[in-house]
Symmetry: D2
């Protein structure tokens, strides 16, 4: 192995730069050359590729987003797209790829591996934390802290005005952010895709709480909740409890931002491990963190193995806000 | 003067607690008793009032919202409401009132003064900064910093993905937050109620910029912009420039939060000044800050005198992002 | 079991309030009464104890420090002190104790158990993360993020001026904060008690780096490093490399502050678990988190079992900054 | 005027990058070329100069420090140093200079003007706020907010443990940061160079307060206070009040960091104004902000005119914490 490439794909997340830095610098200690591929698979298809050195990744640990840029490539979903991509891989002499992204990105990587046998290792980079084979994904901790700060601010206003707020956090298919920030902020109700939402029960809890003397209440809802988006749920709730519900959708403030300590450390660990594994001949795997240690999983398990949410956390959420 | 009352009214804003603390402690040094009135004029009408001492306001400088709670009272808009309120004022022996709030709250205070002659002094508390007679309103600086942090985060994502974002900040009638945070974040376009919005021109600027090589663009829009809300504008822009526009509405995260240094200092100065003025016999005025000094203005000017936005800032906004 | 007591002891740490809240509310769901003991063991000795209810712990999740206050009690180290304490425990009818603190606090608790058989469960609360039987201690994550933010700021100045900084972070006996924040901030050198410090080697690395073109360098040192404190090391380094070293000692800003998401969640989990365990009849144990799950350990192991630092992290630290 | 140069000199401060950006982009709209001079006057002497364009200053608004680097040049203090500098100025064809820095930097600039008649305009960039002719200096607001956050954290610990803390903030010759953050954090005592410190009186206030029931107390001291540094004062206080005093020196965390809204806005305004003034033929002046408006002052007044501290703030500081 002489040359490796690294790309970030899918939604950006805080800490991706730490992973890129770790990949580049670890590769250099193995005397490998490193190519940075811009805009995920699109850059691979369009040969938007540049060589990186030690200094290319200086000063990026504290910066959100990804210096390699990211994208969701439609062309790469098709065999012709991947064919173009592999041509550039070969022409550039790239012997192995590190793909930083979420499950969609890993499905693409897996197909590329199946079709062309190119060695590749994935690193879980997504704020949603919904990847099998790892307890941690890059950006999740920062996203939780951002959402939590927002919830603290909303509580100030909710408490000052005696209001019920419904706050939608990210998570199209997973309730991790909602569950964690809901507990951490003391939300009165937490709605996640993994648990069937009973709007009547929510209304009863809110009405009961208000009767008991709650001055404010916050409902945290994951964007992918089965009862619909924040506006739909708030409309139903409003009718049932007979008072205004204030809605805030946190949206894209949750992706960027200065990465937290945990995100920088873990992204660094995973970046190092990804190169270690490529060099040692492994491929079609993702490196992740399980029980605090770096492990590897075959790529296909990252989207087929559902982690589910921790039943203990669901109990705690109820227990501490009832 | 032996007893004064203090209340917060209208939207909560960061720094109101610093003002309450200053009012209470300054009054105590004048050997006055201080009553805290809960939930603005509603508490005055419902006699939701408690005596406050030195320790009642300990440890609140760093906390968002208002410990006295706030509300927008519909009943107080009517003469009967104010009649109930003045009864409680008199029964409690309250000789003077400090009203912390925005222009709506000041209009209420002014009516109470006109009808019953009760001495009162206003303190400008609103994140919108749209009060005549003062360059500063409590909460504006914190709100700008919160919105700015959010815009920095959105830039990370916009830049990583090569996107155009439209971000709506607070300001129903005033563009101060939009203009200040737009300049501070390097927004490519800033839309405010004070300047007629030409969506075609915005589209041309964005298209031109993208042609020149802008990887991302951010349009900051005040919620009260004449071209409509963020969704309406984004729809029009999308058609004209032929690409997706990502919308984020910052919403209620802008009111609460840990108050900034400026907000704590200025709220403290205004709280002290309000009591000084009440004690010295002044009434029907607001204390504000002009050219860095505390001044007073007759209450009615606070909603009739429009400040307008600084033409210099509008020039700078254009000059630095074109 | 009808009544339990809860106290915080030793250095305060961010998230202790979340643990107190969880203990109180969980106990209430078991229909227990809960007494809050002020100032750790001192409050137990002096009977500074108050009953707590659901509302006593409202609104405290976002606040640093501990609402029960803390202390390091010298009297409790002596048998007479513990005798006074147990008298108050019995007079109040307290059937079980939850002790939130570090290893010193646990040693006191263990003695109390040995001498009087009182059921008690510990929760690891210390920013130092140096407790056996748990991978996590309350406040560690927040402390790391605070130190990291400080290091980012110092890097701005170091880079602007082309300086070498030596930054001392907390950790009298453990290098966790230094190692984690050193990696996360991209520190050029990290000095911890667990690894013998070779000042000559540090000087060589710095001189070599400066020769290679480093504009700035940051040395992160744990306060308990074997080579001495920051000033001592900086003096030696200065002589050896022949240029000024700028020293910053972060000090007590690392304990307080708004708790992070991880600290609020884990403190909540541990608070719930502590009450679960007390109720189920366990005693003389600490609840901790290992491999992401709540576990219990006998109290004596919490100070006899050394965790050691992760060799993998030490490798990463070197690999990414050489 | 065809070519201008811009440099940052003296201690770095948050917002300098916003000023550089404004200078560069404003100059470009005047069709000027802009050279960035690295490391302040040292770069001028050593011809460490590079041409800047629109993109050179993209993405820097949110970054602390200065992308042009800074230094305190000893050589520039001597006539020979300035002679070397002016040679490079002329060889490069630089027609005017923008100097961003503090009073030391302005004294150098003034000499260069006196000796060689080169047009130059200063911009006040220092966290200390101790420049005549302006109410605002770049970085002051960010530094105050950083120190304030640190003080909030220290209060958590002081309150939890019932301690007296002495916290030293920056300000060698001026007490602005100490006074502002002292008021904003509710410090019990504030010691600044502008007011003679009476350690006995401080001790009496602390002892009296503790007797009255203060659980914690914070003394904020400017580094240049007449009673000496934090350690000296704490030693004296300790003897007088008979209890431990905990010392924290905030140090260099106060210079860097993400600039606040105010710092980005005002730095932008001053950068634009500096170029406007150069182009309109003015020289040997500094642009500043007085009563909220951009004004100019002759350079020599910036270090001869002392501003003094606001007597009103000193009254407020005492009044609100006694």
């Amino acid at each position: 192995m002489k040359i490796i490439g690294v790309l970030t794909s899918g939604g950006d997340s805080a800490g991706m730069n730490a992973a890129i830095r770790a990949v580049v610098r670890t590769a250099l200690t193995y005397n490998l050359s490193v190519f940075g591929i811009k805009r995920g698979y699109e850059g691979l298809i369009e040969d938007d590729i540049l060589e990186m050195d030690y200094d290319s990744v200086s000063g990026i640990l504290s910066r959100g987003g990804t210096i390699l840029y990211s994208a969701r490539s439609k062309e790469f979903l098709k065999p012709e797209g991947r064919k173009k991509a592999i041509k550039n891989v070969r022409r550039r002499g790239i012997d192995g790829l590190v793909v930083i992204g979420g499950d969609g990105s890993f499905q693409g990587a897996h197909k590329l591996y199946e079709e062309y046998g190119i060695p590749l290792v994935g690193i879980p980079g997504t704020i949603d934390n919904d990847i099998g084979g790892t307890e941690y994904t890059i950006g999740y901790d920062t996203a939780c802290n951002i959402a939590l700060e927002a919830l603290d601010k909303i509580r100030d206003t909710a408490q000052s005005h005696g209001r019920v707020f419904l706050v939608e956090v990210m998570g199209k298919h997973a309730g991790y952010i909602a569950l964690e920030t809901g507990i951490a902020s003391g939300a009165e109700v937490i709605l996640i895709p993994e648990v069937t939402t009973d709007v009547d029960a929510v209304a009863r809890k809110l009405s009961g709480g208000i009767k008991k003397g709650w001055r404010s209440a916050i409902v945290v809802v994951a964007e992918g909740d089965d009862a619909g988006g924040a506006f739909k749920i708030s409309k139903k709730l409003k009718e049932k409890i007979g008072r205004d519900i204030w809605v805030t959708i946190l949206g894209h403030i949750q992706r960027g931002g200065v990465p937290s300590a945990v995100d920088r450390i873990n992204a660094s660990r995973l970046g190092v491990a990804a190169v270690d594994m490529l060099v040692s001949g492994q491929t079609d795997i993702m490196v992740g963190i399980v029980s605090g240690r770096v492990v590897s999983t075959s790529l296909s398990k990252t989207w087929t193995q559902k982690k589910g949410v921790d039943a203990d956390l669901i109990r705690i959420a109820k227990l501490l806000s009832s």
